[in-house]
Amino acid sequence: MEADVVVLIERPWPRAAAMPAGFEQLFRAEYARVVRIAYRVVGEQGEAEDVAQDVFISFYRSHPADAAYAAPWLHRASAHTALNAVRSRSRRVAREDRDAQDRQPVADPEGAALDRERAREVRAVLARLPRGAAELLALRYSGLSYAEVAAATGTKIDQVGTRLRRAHDAFRKEASRGQHR
């Protein structure tokens, strides 16, 4: 009987025991998209996965899994957190060094180098853009629909096209400025 008493007292906080089923469902439904949004910004899968983990932890800590805003919140937070990450240069450099060491030999080294160079360029340009424009491009080019982009950014759907065009203009200007540096 006393052993039972001890077990009850040691019973962990309910959250520690198991993730609520609703949250697991949300994770399965949205994780890949959250990683892709971050990947569009950071350009490296390992770092994108780190961002996605941070985003889900933040959401889990403060919001119910069945919140109507869950998916748009996660999408926006992924773009936002990824942009914060690329602005934090030290973290990125450390990760790149580690990735370079871990990288397996690839069949097309020139193509891979080109991809990395392109990822680096996109990342640099996104980091210099106004945050709203950078988020918009990251969300759209990770594969979100106009409706999903609208929900994530709190914009009306019929304004998404206009805002995207403006973001493209800003991106092009910033990209050509970067080339002339």
Binding site: P12, A16, A32, E49, R76, F171
Partner: protein, 320 residues
Amino acid sequence: MDNIDSNEKLLAMPPLAVDTERGLTRFTSTLRSTDAQAARREAPAFLFAAPAKWLGAAAAIVIVALTLTMTGVADSILQIFEAKQFAAVNVTTTDLKTLGELSQFGKLTWSAEPNPHPVASLAAATAETGLPAVSISVPASVTATAQYGVVPRTTGTFVFDATLARSSAAAIGRTAPPMPAKLDGSSLVFNGGPAILITYGSSNSAAGALMVGVAKAPTVGSDGASVAEIQAYLLSQPTVSPALAAQIRAISDPSTTLPVPIPVGQAAAKTVSVHGTSGLFVGDSTGLGSGVLWQQNGLVYVVGGTLTEAEVLAVANSLK
């Protein structure tokens, strides 16, 4: 249109295989490790779970709670708070999480990390801390022998940081209310300990467990930010629920009352009389554990264990 075409080539996503199962495994594992710590902080059984670990985790919550209660206290470069009495503040799980995230407003540094450590005897504990010895009448249900521990005096300095507050809010997709310029960069200095902890058994032992703690009453000092500013700023945070803010505002003597977070549904608190003074009794909702806190002559006392209310109060009143 050319803009869009050239950008699209650059921005187009290369194919990416995402392993959701691996992500879920990693996520679950992170939760397990962090929630195990959170559980210690949140569970009403905290008095019986490794007190040393609890003390470190509790310090952050206490600082936030203290800063939240400093309404009406005159601005001072010196001490603005000393715990003389306790008030139960009902908190939800969400409140506890957000309150615990002190790092969202600034940076907390310890002059020395809180370093609880065991000592051989009560005499060693009193010699190290300078606190008076206590004698305890242990109930028959507690059969374990006493173990002694000491928490040296510790000073923590919390510096408010507007940039950090902004970026923390932004990272979760929120906009934080602006931090007043005067608050940005100002410091709160938290003094805790020294303390003596006497434990009989633990939550791992089959017999009853008892913990008795004696500590110098914790204090807080401010280096100049207006107390009204601190309170207005913290209570306006979207992470502080209106219910919690209202309870904190209702504390009649905030410069001497230490709010004790009571997790709703997990524990209940009430005022009791101990040694002729007012104490706060906290009972675990399972009825299996309880504890009582009171202050006397500048010292804070805690008695808790796998005991009934009557047993805990009998131990508390037996303390000499």
